[in-house]
Symmetry: C2
């Protein structure tokens, strides 16, 4: 497993909550687990830390940050600001090929099993297809990061069960508005869609 694969693997394992939260993560532990040495692990950790998947734990070590309702709220608020922008700029460039591909995503999600990470991937793919034409690579990369994190929060507890249906319905509505060429209503719906995710998260994280 090379450096880049290792980064992805560790990131997904953090998202799957395989590694303990809130207590120091040892480089050697990771190196042993992934059957490599500490050097590529360190490269991956540096990147993961920059992206917020790990935070400082004490003076010299790193840890998976504990889930935090406050962070989830932040992530959603940031999404609420940025995704409507991306969609609004993308809409003039949308075409039926893209909308069709987005619909394929929804179908795939409907048939996918219960793996939270798989659903997360398809969800981002759906959104990304619609945003892509805005042609803002920095923004798109940022949005992906936000999605990956939010999906971790959504997937962790079996939130998906109840929320998945509502989300799917909103996705369908969004596509319909786009097909019907109603840009402002589509943007407004997207805003509500993200707000709904925020609400769902707050409800479920309040328990923890």
């Amino acid at each position: 497993m090379n450096k880049a694969e290792l980064y992805l693997q560790i990131r997904d394992d953090i998202r799957r909550r395989i590694w303990p939260q809130g207590r120091p993560l040892k480089q050697q532990t990771l190196a042993d687990y992934y059957q490599t040495s500490r050097i590529p692990v360190r490269d991956a950790l540096a990147r993961l830390t920059a992206e917020g998947w790990l935070v400082s734990a004490g003076k010299a070590s790193l840890m998976v940050p504990p889930l935090s309702a406050a962070e989830a709220q932040e992530l959603c608020l940031i999404r609420q600001q940025l995704e409507p922008l991306a969609l609004r700029l993308a809409i003039p460039q949308l075409n039926f090929a893209i909308l069709g591909a987005a619909e394929d995503c929804l179908r795939a999600a409907a048939q996918a099993g219960t793996d939270p990470l798989r659903h997360g991937e398809l969800n981002w793919q759906f959104h990304q297809l619609l945003y892509q034409p805005c042609a803002m690579p920095t923004l798109l990369q940022l949005l992906q990061q936000l999605h990956l994190k939010v999906e971790m929060y959504l997937g962790f507890q079996q939130v998906s069960l109840g929320y998945a249906e509502q989300s799917a319905a909103e996705h369908q509505q969004l596509l319909q508005l786009l097909r019907d060429n109603q840009p402002e209503q589509a943007v407004a719906l997207l805003q509500r869609h993200i707000a709904d995710a925020a609400t769902t998260l707050q409800r479920h994280l309040a328990l923890a």
Copy 2:
């Protein structure tokens, strides 16, 4: 020079455009220049890449990305979405101590010399003082990244000369509106302030 210092040093040297743009940067070159080995350099590079200060150059190497009007535009648009949010949420928590500290920043900037990096620092410090009370650490960190990049664009060409005065005036107005307890007008002004930065950048980058 330890790992963390090295990261900051390389980042600032990229911002100062000490390293060539658009052509591969060798690890050993950096290690020699900063009088260390490749290992801490690699750690720094991994983080800098994650943050977008470096991009892939070919299959195995990294480079400083060329300045791009499109990226500057993106950064400003993202700021325009996020900073008004931060300010709006922070305003209820603002007090005269904070506003005083912000004014100190402006004074310091007025007396500072011509070093673009110094001005950049003071500019972010000013904005950050006003946003801080929103208590959204993820958002604040993101905004700092955006500022660091935008300030690189602003500082690179001697844009600062003409723009600095306008910017300073807008900062003063913003403080006045906050002192006068006119939150919505303050937010609106901030939005224009960022739009002005975007316009300035587009004018100057069009030449290049």
